[in-house]
Assembly symmetry: C2
Homo-oligomer: 358 residues x 2
């Protein structure tokens, strides 16, 4: 069988913005956010089940998170979890998955998907991915651009060039995260958010890597051989950590020939769960605007995000706009507006306590 | 040996103002507050060691707290812990202790002391108690009145009558907790705070009980006989819970003959630890005004009271004037000014969860 569809789920994140819930041992892609029991990674894998078989899903994550990944995805073949000895950003991650796809189907089509966005319109998401995969079948590199709902300064943008059909265009330019005034202009001009999703035949991306990232390409050639010979792990352990750390955006997409990348427009409630503030925004709230995970007693309290273990009671009186995250060995209390300051806490903790609470 | 000194420590409190640290199973007298390891009860027993031997200390507490009392006071004779089958306020408590004192020394002198005030000038406290015991030796009932440092509306007041000597006077009147304007006037007029401490010969208070509380007196007579015969517990189990619930203030002191109660003035840093707010006020604070028990990381945070288990990290960013009390199964967050609203939480919990978190 050829022309099969595959997915490469990028689950290598190790962010600290969800401390103390998210730790080095359990980054956010493994956490559930909307009161459901389903983690962001599990939701990502579930959503694409209509597009391709689970045997064709590869998850690339840190070696230390392989066990958690297989635990959360029991019907994913264990060999489809690719454990990185060290994080080298997304280009090596995508290339490694491409080598695996090529070993199974040299004509294989890949959907490269971050593990951690939250999607509100799942049917729209699947329809857009299907469209992007069909576009990639023609041999181009394809991305999905999200129609902005606000002048967000935390995302990159895509400038569209010549139209190629219904909501498909050539990518004119990828643009870094802009300042607010620029973002406002971008929204007016119809620029799109960069979703970080990519679609291509495995050979297409491997050729691009050969052109723009020769060291990575050499590794991937050796890797293909090692996969065939069954000694891939030895190679990965020996060489992966020494690969250049570079994103697929910078390392490939921005260097690709003009007109070779196409963008499919999407509009399916795409959210980057970037901080406790966004977790609150995405959660169902009570009449007072409070979102709770676990057991809470909130009196005269508004617009708070309260998250604790299911066997613990969190009682709050007379507060508003607070983030409270309780775990067995660490508790966070911060105004919702300052949730990004969690990074400061993690920095202080690293200095004063080492890895104890991180 | 006669004319011995005894103490009756009243440790029957079951308040809810220190939830979630204080529970039905562990009321505040068993808790340490000032960062020391010593509970309020332990401190009360320690402070009077220079005045009388520990074998002469009786602690009256709820039956369910007898084990905790003996655990906290290992050198107190176990028979000196009087476990009440039900709380009946202070008159039965004091009477019961008086019956025990009379059994050991019919001339015995008693100091009746609440278990839970916090004292900053311990030498001054001991000197005042010594003076009050000497005054009680003459056969009167004696109390200690505290010179007010503010127009506190949470305490009762004592109006002094004819002076009897250096800082000793007849009690003209006991006055209930006043509203603020009245309290302000009281402070100007030189009225004193009612400390709730009393001093008398055991026979004096038993005679007063016989006059004003006949049902209690009958029980105490039976109790004296049962103590002699070694079957006191059976009597207490059968009758104690049915005694009228009345305080020694209302039941005896306010009914006593004019001029029969004397007051010794005291000024030794007497504090009722009445809420988390007062716990903060009495605690040592850092440069930012924060008091912490346990492990805390406080960034840009001022004037907070933060209390957690020693093996847990509490991280707070950008907050002020907060009370945070964390325990293994319940967490409280409340503005310092609203610490009294803890009662509302406990009421809600009783209604919704039964006794689970109380």
């Amino acid at each position: 069988m050829s022309n099969q569809r595959f997915a490469c789920i990028m689950a290598g994140g190790s962010g600290t913005r969800f401390w103390p819930q998210s730790r080095a041992a359990l980054p956010k892609q493994f956490l559930a956010f909307q009161g459901s029991e389903e983690s962001l990674l599990q939701a990502t894998v579930r959503r694409i089940r209509g597009l391709l078989p689970v045997e064709n899903v590869y998850v690339v994550t840190s070696q230390r998170h392989v066990a958690e990944t297989t635990r959360q995805l029991p019907d994913l073949p264990v060999d489809n979890v690719l454990g990185e000895p060290a994080g080298r950003n997304t280009a090596p991650c995508v290339g490694w998955a491409a080598a695996h796809v090529r070993a199974r189907d040299p004509q294989g089509l890949m959907a490269v998907l971050p593990a951690d966005p939250y999607i509100t319109d799942e049917a729209g998401y699947v329809a857009t991915l299907d469209k992007a995969l069909c576009a990639a079948e023609q041999g181009s590199m394809v991305t999905v651009g999200i129609r902005p709902t606000r002048p967000e300064t935390g995302y990159g943008y895509i400038e569209c060039g010549a139209p190629l059909g219904d909501e498909v265009a050539v990518v004119a330019k990828f643009i870094e995260k802009p300042p607010l005034e620029v973002a406002e202009r971008f929204v007016q001009e119809g620029k799109l958010w960069n979703s970080g999703m990519f679609f291509f035949r495995c050979q297409v991306i491997l050729d691009q890597i050969a052109t723009h990232q020769p060291q990575l390409s050499a590794f991937l050639s050796a890797c293909s051989e090692a996969i065939a010979q069954g000694n891939e792990r030895t190679l990965v352990e020996a060489q992966y950590a020494a690969l250049p750390s570079i994103s697929i955006d910078h390392g490939i997409m921005e260097k690709a020939q003009a007109g070779s990348i196409h963008v499919v427009q999407g509009d399916f409630g795409w959210h980057d769960v970037g901080s406790w503030t966004s977790a609150w925004e995405l959660s169902e709230t009570d009449n007072e605007g409070n979102a709770t995970v676990g057991k809470a007693l909130l009196l005269d309290t508004q617009n708070c995000y309260v998250r604790g273990p299911s066997n613990k009671l969190i009682a709050i009186v007379g507060m508003s706009d607070l983030v409270v995250v309780d775990t067995p060995d660490a508790l966070l209390i911060v105004p919702r507006e300052r949730a990004q300051d969690v990074k400061k806490i993690v920095t202080h903790l690293k200095e004063s306590q080492g890895d104890k609470y991180i």
